[in-house]
């Protein structure tokens, strides 16, 4: 089953898909127009950096040098705070004086149960479902300090439109396709992740309790898909959905 969150009459409401792109509202009525979508979750969004081989392979030599000295031993995590959360179809303002901006096509793993100190074998029991995420970032030139300036800008974490039930997806076999202005621009696959979804849930839940509605972004690939004002960027995962957003310049948003 799929569900999404929209704004109707200034209230957050749930919708499910009908045939031919139509939507069914939570009160049983079909929705006539395309709605304003919200992110499908409202919890904490945790991202995992340095979990994609395309990136790890490139940095292998750097890891042995200052300031890193050695490769990371545990998952490298970050938070996408609430000001970054956005829905399908939202317009995202990009800074024009802060260097290049990159898309980050990714899976979103949505937690369904309070999860503390789970084993890898128990981990998937805590998953409610999956969604599509675009983890937008400025260039990742260093991994030494938390990337707040690069990753925590307003609207830099669109998610959705759909939250798909856990049973519909195998998180060990997910293909993520990113499109720039309608053209397929990048494909990445869960087999290229260093740690799998169950391994990550187990590792995170060892030291912090995950709550229903929290979301984990297991990996983003090497930043190659630059996005600019005027572009339309889409991330698609077969079986989950297609997340599309339009980009404008920050100055024109103010």
């Amino acid at each position: 089953m799929k569900q999404g969150r929209i704004v109707l009459d200034q209230q957050a409401r749930r919708v499910t898909p009908l045939a031919a792109g139509k939507l069914l509202l939570d009160n049983g009525n079909p929705l006539a127009d395309q709605p304003q979508w919200l992110a499908p979750v409202t919890g904490t969004v945790y991202g995992v950096a340095l979990n994609h081989r395309s990136l790890l392979d490139k940095l292998e030599a750097d890891f042995q040098q200052p300031p890193y000295q050695k490769a990371p031993a545990t998952p490298v995590l970050f938070i996408k705070p609430r000001n970054t959360h956005a829905g399908h179809g939202s317009t995202i303002a990009l800074p024009t004086q802060a260097g290049k901006v990159f898309a980050g096509g990714a899976l979103g793993v949505v937690i369904g149960k309070t999860a503390s100190k789970l084993t890898e074998q128990q981990a998937l029991d805590a998953v409610a479902g999956y969604t599509v995420v675009n983890e937008i970032s400025l260039e990742e030139s260093s991994f030494y300090r938390p990337a707040v300036k690069a990753k925590c800008r307003d609207g830099f974490c669109p998610m959705g439109p759909w939250l798909v039930d856990a049973a519909a997806i195998d998180p060990l076999n997910v293909e993520i396709r990113s499109y720039l202005n309608g053209e397929l621009a990048e494909t990445n696959h869960s087999r290229d992740w260093l740690r799998s979804v169950p391994q990550l849930i187990a590792a995170l839940s060892q030291f912090m309790t995950l709550q229903p509605g929290d979301l984990i972004i297991p990996a983003t690939p090497l930043r190659q898909l630059e996005i600019r004002p005027g572009d339309t960027v889409a991330v698609e995962i077969p079986g989950i959905g297609r997340l599309e957003n339009h980009l404008i310049a920050e100055e024109s948003a103010q």
């Binding site: 904490t44 050695k70 490298v76 970050f78 705070p81 300036k149 800008r153 030291f207 912090m208």
Partner: protein, 265 residues
Amino acid sequence: MPRRAPNETRPHPPARRGSYPRSSGDDDHSVQLADGRRLAEDAVEWLPPAEGTVFALGLNYADHAAELAFKAPTEPLVFLKSPATLTGHRQVSVRPDNLLYMHYECELVVIIGKTAKNVSREQAMDYVAGYSVCNDYAVRDYLENYYRPNLRVKNRDTLTPIGPWWVDRDDVADPANLTLRTWVNGELRQQGNTSDMVFDIPYLIEYLSSFMTLSPGDMIATGTPEGLADVVPGDEVIVEVEGVGRLVNHIVSEAQYAARQVQSA
């Protein structure tokens, strides 16, 4: 002097200004609820004073940076915390087993009161609603040189007590001149003054709002001065910011914490 403590019991509604009980103002440490009831400080379950995004500063006191053998940064070293790590006044914090070094950090917390984007430092204080106190514990054994300090060091369950009070901005005459103190088992271990911040409150609001929007309820933990020390199960740790509050916390072991969880379930 309006001071607010969280509601009495969980589950609680989102913190809203004006919805909290107040200090009775007496020296007996009692709190007064919105309905007039007066309760002892230890008869309520204390929660964090607000529920927004939590920012924390590393190396924001020159003396502390020197203590850690770091040059003070040229740009604020900011990291984020999630609700998972937050807890309230008079709660416990868990020291993981088999550690060499876990330390407290006494910090002044700034609570944002208005939506802030591209705010200049001259206007920054208009966006402050109030202040609180936090103890930003860190497990140094887990430090790695990636997004340092990472979540495993700084975002562990129970390791960020915040509170007890939300003190209105206008009740603190000069936030840039407040004494910070930490006591472990009654012994003064850390002392500093907010005048020694590398990046002061107006600068931090200008900096963060230059690239992201701050919202009411967001909190900025502004960093800690020198005087860190290891804490172990059984320790009582009190962090205090002059005129803002005195936050009490006890360290427990993993086994003690698990036993408490079973008991309260």
